[in-house]
Structures are given as structure tokens and as C-alpha cells.
């Protein structure tokens, strides 16, 4: 299994090329062809999960090759405990979302080719260890996403697509400047992330702070953190179901992953100084703000979108704490949010396909019409709420425990937001599923086998990680402990 990460990244691109060559009048060939292209990466991800050495903090499965020697740009990939969780999540969601996309009827070939390109770019972001390569993949994601929202999205798709595009590009060009500044600071100049991490002591204080902030804005737009979050509800509401899943499940994680990998790893001193306001306080604010916004929504999908903002706030708060529990809780929360929100968006898609609207007030009594669907939704909603026994509970508690040791005030605010979360989730459950069945929807068909197939693996993970979080924590703990130790050297 040499070059496993390269295969995982480029098999979807090969799949996209094959899909482009299939005849347009055979949409089923295209659908199954595209789905088949996501199987090898998933199998390889499982192999990685089994064979990953959990005792090593450094990078594993490393590959390195010269790319543009005159500028010292390399093809350099590898995974450590932080990125492997994201690689697993990406491979899993890419696979499931292909099946969630089978209902797409318009320009099928273009949709699946772009989707596979998006898969490859996401995988590339998480495995890249060359900053230039990382940036290429980061930007490569924008183009397919723009078209996927813009062509296959809802009524305001054009607005949502360009808004997403502009916001993300604005963030990433700042990242470009930061990466150039870091590059030229080294002798010899290098984009090698491992070398950039070793060089963290050589920067002047002002340089660190400016570069840190430039990177942070780029990543905060992706998370998205207040006040850069306004693209998210628009993009989510307009995007087709599978794209919303990818957006919430994987793309948002790139923001926090980038902060951990780059801001923490390369600029630990600035991280120690700036984290209280930029990550901790902002994170706590996001938790409360997202929950309050979610409570005010009438559109089910928008509610889930705002809940994402709230849940990503936990990730920010957790990593700002610089405690082992906090940072591990943060990464676990990234993974759990990926699975739970993916379920929620898939479930919203299921009901939207049937009723053609997502108005929370427009349903009622669905529990008696679609019992299996209701059960599945209840599981996802309770997981999002942080019910003990389900995965998100563990990560949120870890975050709060970790954060309490350093920022008791912020933690109190964040913990109290759990009430709001419970509020909007239970209230939504009540309005959609309980009460008298809506006459209009008595004949809605139950959730289909294909839809259950996309949900079941996620449900299993949500339940299993609720009892056995060690499956993920074991992967991450060694790498995160060493990262945490690095930052803690600079914490006063």
C-alpha cells in the first residue's frame, strides 16, 4: 500500500474523467460509475484506520516528490492523528453522498464529474503537507462547489453560489499572502509544512501576529465564525442535499483543521497570545449566537445550518483551551459534527423530496405517517442536542471540561447555550413530528431503502462513538498531545 494517500486523492479525479466519457443518455451508468469511484478511497480509508500507528505523533504514509524545483515546491503528502480523522470522514461522506445524489436529473454527467473533483480536492487538503499544494487543493474546491450550488441549487442559487465563492476567495487570498511571507522567511525558502513548523521560533513578534491573523481570517470564513458566517445559511439553503452534507460535513472542518495544522503548528506563540479573543471568546459567542439564530428559523434547512455555526463554536472553544481534554474534544467534535450534521441534512433532504418545502410550521404529526423516518430524525436530533449516550455528548463535554480549566467564564456561557440548543431542537421536533397529522401529507411514502442506506452507517457511528469514543480519541491523542505541548510552551 505505497502511495495510498495519492490513490485516495486521485482516484476520484480518474473517476471524473471516466464519467465524462460515459454516454449522456445513460444516467444510471454515470450514477453508478461515480459511486464506484468513491469505493476504493473508502476501502483505503478503512485500511488506514486499521494500520495507522497510534503511538506516533509525526506524519505517516508520507510521500514526497519534486514538483517545481526552482521554487522548491514539492508534492508532499502524509497524515497524522489530526488529519486522519478528517480523511476518514471525507471518504465516508463522499461515498454516502454519491448515493444521496441519485435523485439528480438535470445534467447528470456534469454533476457527478464536478462532485468527484470536489471529493479529490477535499481529500487533497487534508493530506497535503506542502503549503503550496494545500493551497492549490483549497482553491480547487471552490470551482466545483460554485457550479454545484449554482446549477443544481434552489431558487436563489446564483446569489448563494457567488456569495460562497467571493467570501471564500477573500479569505484564501489572505492565506496566500501569509504563506508567501512564511515561505520567504525560511532559508532556504520552503513550503514544506514540517520545516515550517520547526521554524516557529524564528519569527519576530509582529510578523507572527500579522501572519496569524491573515491565516485566521481565511480559516474563520470557512468555519464559519461570526462575523464571516453569512454565506453559510444562504449556501446551505440553496445547495442540493448532498452538497449541503459535504459543505457542513467536510468543508467547515477545513477551517478548524487549518487553524490546528497551520496556526497552531507554525505560529504557536501567536496562537497562545491571540486564542482567548479570536478562538475562545469568539467560539463561545458562536455557540450562543448560532443557537439563538437557529431558534428563530422557519426553514428546517436553515435551522440546521445555524446549528452548524453553533456546534463549530465548540470546536473553537475547545482548541483555545490548550488542555488535552479541550483539544481532543475539539477534534472529536469536528468528527462528530461531520456525522451528525450529515444525517440532519440528509433527513431534511428526504422530507423535502416528498413535500417540496421545508417550512417547519407546514408539517405536524409526521411521526404517525413516517415512523421510521421519525425515529432516524429523533436519533440525529438528540445527537445534535448532546444527549448522553450519543457521540456529540462526549465531545461537547470534553470541550467544556477542557475549557473550564482555563476560561471558566466562557465555559459557563457556552454550557448555558445547551438550553437554547435543547430549546430549538425539541421545539422543532414537536412542530414537525408531534401533534395532529397534517391532512395534506397523509400519503407521504416512508423513507426509502436507498435513503436509509445513506443514513444507517452514520447512525451506527453516532451510537458507537457515544459509548466508545476511544475509537477516534486513540487516533488523535498522540498528535494532539504533542501539538498541545508545543503551544503550552508559550502560554503564560
Amino acid at each position: 500500500m505505497d502511495h495510498i494517500l495519492t490513490y485516495m486523492t486521485f482516484i476520484p479525479i480518474a473517476g471524473a474523467l471516466i464519467v465524462l466519457c460515459l454516454p449522456s443518455n445513460k444516467p444510471d451508468w454515470i450514477r453508478w460509475g461515480a459511486a464506484a469511484a468513491t469505493v476504493p478511497p473508502l476501502l483505503m480509508a478503512i485500511w488506514l484506520f486499521v494500520n495507522f500507528d497510534r503511538t506516533k505523533a509525526g506524519f505517516q504514509f508520507v510521500e514526497k516528490a519534486a514538483w517545481i524545483p526552482s521554487f522548491n515546491i514539492e508534492y508532499f503528502v502524509g497524515v497524522d492523528g489530526i488529519s486522519i480523522t478528517m480523511v476518514l470522514l471525507t471518504a465516508l461522506l463522499s461515498f454516502l453522498c454519491m448515493f444521496a445524489s441519485f435523485g439528480i436529473e438535470k445534467a447528470v454527467k456534469g454533476y457527478f464529474a464536478l462532485f468527484l473533483l470536489l471529493d479529490a480536492a477535499m481529500m487533497g487538503v487534508f493530506v497535503s503537507l506542502d503549503f503550496f499544494l494545500f493551497y492549490i487543493f483549497w482553491e480547487l474546491m471552490l470551482l466545483p462547489m460554485y457550479f454545484l450550488i449554482g446549477i443544481w441549487g434552489g431558487p436563489r442559487r446564483e446569489y448563494a453560489a457567488i456569495k460562497f465563492f467571493l467570501y471564500t476567495l477573500a479569505g484564501s487570498v489572505l492565506m496566500l499572502l501569509a504563506l508567501l511571507a512564511l515561505y520567504f522567511h525560511q532559508t532556504p525558502h520552503t513550503f514544506d509544512m514540517t520545516k515550517l513548523m520547526e521554524a516557529h521560533t524564528t519569527y519576530s513578534h509582529n510578523f507572527q501576529v500579522i501572519v496569524w491573523l491573515a491565516l485566521f481570517i481565511g480559516f474563520a470564513i470557512k468555519i464559519p465564525a461570526f462575523p464571516f458566517h453569512t454565506w453559510l445559511p444562504d449556501a446551505h439553503v440553496e445547495a442540493p442535499t448532498a452538497i449541503s452534507v459535504i459543505l457542513a460535513g467536510v468543508l467547515l472542518k477545513m477551517g478548524t483543521y487549518g487553524i490546528l495544522r497551520i496556526n497552531f503548528g507554525m505560529l504557536p506563540e501567536a496562537t497562545a497570545q491571540l486564542s482567548y479573543y479570536c478562538l475562545g471568546a469568539l467560539g463561545a459567542f458562536n455557540i450562543v449566537y448560532g443557537a439563538l439564530c437557529a431558534m428563530a428559523q422557519k426553514d428546517l434547512k436553515k435551522l440546521v445550518a445555524y446549528s452548524s455555526i453553533s456546534h463549530m463554536g465548540y470546536v473553537m472553544l475547545g482548541m483555545a483551551a490548550f488542555t488535552p481534554q479541550g483539544i481532543q474534544g475539539a477534534v472529536l467534535q469536528m468528527f462528530n459534527h461531520g456525522t451528525v450534521t450529515a444525517m440532519l441534512f440528509l433527513l431534511v433532504g428526504v422530507i423535502y423530496d416528498r413535500a417540496h418545502h421545508r417550512d417547519i410550521e407546514g408539517f405536524g404529526g409526521l411521526a404517525s405517517i413516517m415512523p421510521v423516518y421519525t425515529g432516524m430524525t429523533a436519533l440525529a436530533f438528540f445527537a445534535a442536542l448532546g444527549l448522553p449516550g450519543l457521540s456529540a455528548f462526549i465531545s461537547e463535554v470534553l470541550v467544556l471540561l477542557g475549557a473550564w480549566q482555563r476560561y471558566p467564564g466562557l465555559t459557563a456561557i457556552a454550557a448555558s447555550a445547551v438550553i437554547f440548543t435543547a430549546g430549538y431542537i425539541l421545539w422543532t421536533m414537536q412542530r414537525v413530528f408531534l401533534g395532529k397529522a397534517n391532512e395534506k401529507y397523509l400519503s407521504l411514502p416512508e423513507i426509502s431503502g436507498r435513503e436509509l442506506f445513506t443514513l444507517a452507517p452514520l447512525a451506527v457511528i453516532v451510537v458507537v462513538l457515544g459509548f466508545y469514543p476511544k475509537a477516534v480519541l486513540d487516533l488523535t491523542s498522540t498528535s494532539l498531545d504533542s501539538l498541545n505541548a508545543l503551544v503550552n510552551k508559550f502560554v503564560l
Binding site: 492549490i136 467571493l166 499572502l177 520567504f184
Partner: protein, 492 residues
């Protein structure tokens, strides 16, 4: 080594071949009935000239015609670019509906004459030679712009171009007379020797440079000498617009670089240039660069005619390229050379697609592109998207690499403010480029549009340029190597 007049003739074989081509075109015009043959003759002649440029690249560097001209890698680089621009313009003319009519002999003759003038601009080593070459290019361009005799906009554009060009070159020659007065010579090498020590009156020198810049600035379309660009680009036949936007602009840059670097500055051992001490010239160009790109991009936002939009975008790109000029380093110059190659690919490509659509529909406004991808024009639409996103500077396209090198040079010399303005401009430009993409892909045809057909002739060039744009976004080492080797001025 300086060579006399007769001996120099052997060194200017590429120029002589162009002269021969012009004569053959004019003579053949008298006898050939199918006027397309004239275009093919022009194409073949330019190709021959390109070949001989490549051969001449091996001959030693020297002064020609008693130091009126110079033979060095820098001149060779630009001659190759001009020959390629002319070939693309001829190729486009052969596939254009605008260029049908009785006057094709004059048209192709003028086009090649203009190319000849550009050759001289690239190798001019004397103020007089520079002025004559620039005027030669201008005069032929005026006639080419007004070629559509029965089109009022074409005539208006030619007149505006003429008046504006007359004023600009008058200002320039006045500035040159000051320089002659200060340096006592018109020869670049002697000007350098006379001024390098900074003994000349600083204010007089500064004024002389500003006046001279009017001529160069007008050729490269930099603010505030850009006023002619929108009208001329809109009025001229599309192949000529493409030719002016790439060839003429590159010629202006060639002269600008040779005049302000080897003639006015001094190359240090570290690859950085020292400008004449005491003259705050780079600061002025820095402001010009910022204003040029910002004004170009902001004005482009509201354009509906695509030729006009691309005209403003070409102003903005002049601003980006000037960034490399400001930093006074070989890296900046290398980035400019590289960017010109990239700009050639994507800008000619974009104009080509405009021409393909105009051929079928007779429209050049953005509404003529509505739903292009969904009414038989998928190929031009995809190619256009590649060119436009490359112009924006998104990876993995060549335009990103070009901008990357420019920003790298700027960040290297720590012009952070300029870099920030540059990247934010890229974000602004995304909006109007993406608007075209949106119209082509995200809007659907309402059934009233004329279908767009793609001829094999135009398709070949289009896919060639698109493929090059894509490939150079992934592997560009040979081209950057070429730019590196070409960055050598012969200074005696």
C-alpha cells in the same frame, strides 16, 4: 561588440522575413482571387519569422546598427511572444465573419507591419529607435482599428486612438528630449553611464521620466493613460482587439522594462536593481499600479459589452504586471515575463470565445451568452470558463501561477500594502468574471437565442489555448525556466 549597418543585416533575419511577408501579401493581393490565401501567406510568413527568431536566439549578444538596436535573450523572448500574438490574430481573422471583404490584403499587410514594429520595440537600444518603433506600431494599429469601414464605432475608435496616441507620443518625445539634455546621449548604455551616479538634477530627471511614461503607459494601458482602451477595444474587429490587448501591451512592457531597467538602473549582485539615487520613481509606479488595477476592476464590474469588459480587465492586468516592475528585482521582472505568456494564453482565448459567439449570433453583449452551455455551445462555454477563472487567478490554472509569481516577488521585497491591494483586486475581479460564467452556465436559454456553432478552425485554437492554460497551471517549470533565461539584458 557593436556591429555596423551592413553586417547587422544578417542578425535581423526575422525582421526581414516579416518585411518579405508584407511584400508578398501586397503583391498576392493583386493576383489572388480567394482572399483567404492572403491570411494563410501571412500566417506562414510569421511562422517562418518565429522559426528564425528561435535560430537567432543562438547568435551572440551584441549591438546592431551602431547601437541603435540590441540582440539579447530579452529581445528574443518578446519577439517570440509577438510572433505568436500575430499568428493567433491571423488565425482568428481567418475564422472571423468581420474580416470578410475586399481589403484583406491591406489588413494582413498592416497586421504584419504592426508585428514588425513590435520586433523593433523589443530590441530598441536608443531613444530615437524606441520612439520610431513605437510610432510605427501605433500608426498601423490606428488603421487596423478602423478597418471595419462601414461600422461607425470602428471609425470612432480609430479616431480616438489616433488623437490619444498623438498626444501621448508627443508628450513622450518631449520627455525624451529632456533626457537627452540631461544625459547628452540617446543611447541607452550611455544614458545609464551618465545618470547612474545621480549627478543630474533630480527634479528635471523626475519630470522627464513622468513625461516619457506617458508614451509607455499609453501602450500598456495603465491609468491615467488608459482612456482610449475601452473605446478602441470595443470598436476594433475582435482579432485586432485580441492582438492589441496582448501584443501591443507586451511591446509597451518590453520598451518600459528595457528603458527603466538597463538604461536607468543598475543591477546589483543580489539580483536587485538600484534605481538612480534620489529619484523616487518606484514609488510613483507603485501608486500607478494600485490605481490601475483598482480602477480597471471597479469599472469592469458594471460593463455589459464583453469586449468592453475585457478592455477594463486588460487595464487591471496591466496593473498586476506593474507590480513586478515596482519591486526592482529580477524576480519581479521574471514574474512579469511569465505573466505575459500566461496572459497571452488566457486573454486571446477569452477574445476568441467572444468572437465565436459573435460569429454565430452577431452579439457581443453579455445577454448574447445567456445559457450558452445549454444551447449547443458547451465547448466554448467550458473553454471560456477556463479562460475567465484563469484571468481571476484560480488554481489549477495558469493565471494563478502567474499571479503567484507576481505576489511572491512583491512579498519578497516586503511591499505588503501593494500585495494586499493586489489580492483584494483579484477578489473583486472574480465578481465580473464569474458573472459571465454565471450567464453561460447558471442561466438557462429562454429559446430566443441563436444557436452557437463552433468551426473546426476556431475550435482548434480554442482548445489549444485552453489546454495550455490548464497544463501550465499544473506544470510550468519549462516556461518559468525560459523566463529566467530570457531575463538578460545586453549592456555592452
Amino acid at each position: 561588440m557593436s556591429i555596423g549597418n551592413l553586417a547587422s543585416l544578417t542578425y535581423i533575419l526575422p525582421e526581414l522575413l516579416l518585411v518579405l511577408t508584407i511584400l508578398v501579401v501586397f503583391l498576392a493581393d493583386l493576383v489572388v482571387r480567394e482572399k483567404e490565401r492572403l491570411g494563410e501567406i501571412a500566417l506562414a510568413g510569421t511562422a517562418l519569422s518565429l522559426l528564425s527568431v528561435a535560430v537567432a536566439a543562438k547568435s551572440p549578444e551584441c549591438w546592431l546598427f551602431s547601437k541603435m538596436m540590441v540582440q539579447d535573450p530579452f529581445a528574443v523572448f518578446f519577439k517570440v511572444l509577438f510572433a505568436l500574438s500575430a499568428m493567433a490574430a491571423v488565425w482568428m481573422s481567418l475564422g472571423s465573419k468581420e474580416i470578410k471583404g475586399a481589403n484583406q490584403g491591406e489588413y494582413y499587410g498592416l497586421l504584419i507591419s504592426s508585428t514588425l514594429g513590435m520586433y523593433f520595440m523589443a530590441s530598441a537600444a536608443n531613444l530615437l529607435m524606441a520612439y520610431l518603433a513605437l510610432e510605427f506600431v501605433s500608426l498601423t494599429s490606428y488603421a487596423l482599428t478602423g478597418y471595419l469601414r462601414h461600422n461607425r464605432r470602428s471609425g470612432e475608435a480609430a479616431l480616438k486612438y489616433l488623437i490619444y496616441g498623438g498626444v501621448a507620443s508627443g508628450t513622450m518625445i518631449y520627455g525624451m528630449s529632456w533626457i537627452f539634455g540631461l544625459a547628452g546621449s540617446m543611447d541607452f548604455a550611455q544614458i545609464n553611464a551618465a545618470l547612474a551616479h545621480g549627478d543630474a538634477n533630480k527634479l528635471a530627471l523626475f519630470v522627464a521620466m513622468v513625461l516619457t511614461l506617458a508614451g509607455f503607459g499609453y501602450k500598456i494601458a495603465a491609468v491615467p493613460f488608459h482612456m482610449w482602451v475601452p473605446d478602441v477595444y470595443t470598436g476594433a474587429p475582435i482579432p485586432i482587439t485580441a492582438f492589441l490587448s496582448v501584443g501591443s501591451k507586451a511591446a509597451g512592457f518590453a520598451l518600459l522594462m528595457r528603458f527603466f531597467y538597463p538604461a536607468m538602473s543598475h543591477l546589483g549582485a543580489d539580483g536587485n536593481w538600484q534605481f538612480i539615487p534620489g529619484v523616487d520613481w518606484p514609488q510613483l509606479v507603485l501608486v500607478l499600479s494600485m490605481v490601475t488595477m483598482t480602477l480597471g476592476n471597479l469599472t469592469a464590474l458594471s460593463q455589459r459589452n464583453l469586449k468592453r469588459l475585457l478592455a477594463y480587465s486588460s487595464i487591471a492586468h496591466a496593473g498586476y504586471m506593474l507590480m513586478g516592475f515596482v519591486v526592482l528585482s529580477n524576480e519581479g521582472l521574471r514574474a512579469m515575463l511569465f505573466y505575459m505568456v500566461v496572459y497571452y494564453l488566457m486573454n486571446i482565448g477569452a477574445f476568441l470565445v467572444v468572437m465565436i459567439v459573435a460569429n454565430s449570433t452577431g452579439r457581443e453583449d453579455i445577454d448574447g451568452f445567456r445559457g450558452l452551455a445549454w444551447r449547443g455551445g458547451a465547448a466554448p462555454a467550458i473553454a471560456m470558463a477556463i479562460f475567465l477563472f484563469s484571468l481571476t487567478g484560480l488554481p489549477p490554472l495558469a493565471g494563478f501561477v502567474g499571479k503567484f509569481y507576481l505576489f511572491a516577488a512583491v512579498v519578497r521585497q516586503q511591499f505588503y500594502g501593494l500585495a494586499l491591494v493586489g489580492v483584494l483586486n483579484s477578489v473583486v475581479s472574480l465578481y465580473y468574471y464569474a458573472r459571465i460564467v454565471r450567464t453561460m452556465f447558471l442561466d438557462f436559454p429562454d429559446g430566443t437565442e441563436t444557436p452557437v456553432t463552433l468551426s473546426l478552425h476556431n475550435g482548434a485554437l480554442m482548445w489549444g489555448l485552453a489546454a495550455a492554460t490548464l497544463i501550465m497551471g499544473i506544470y510550468w517549470a519549462p516556461v518559468i525556466g525560459l523566463a529566467d533565461r530570457s531575463l538578460h539584458f545586453f549592456m555592452g
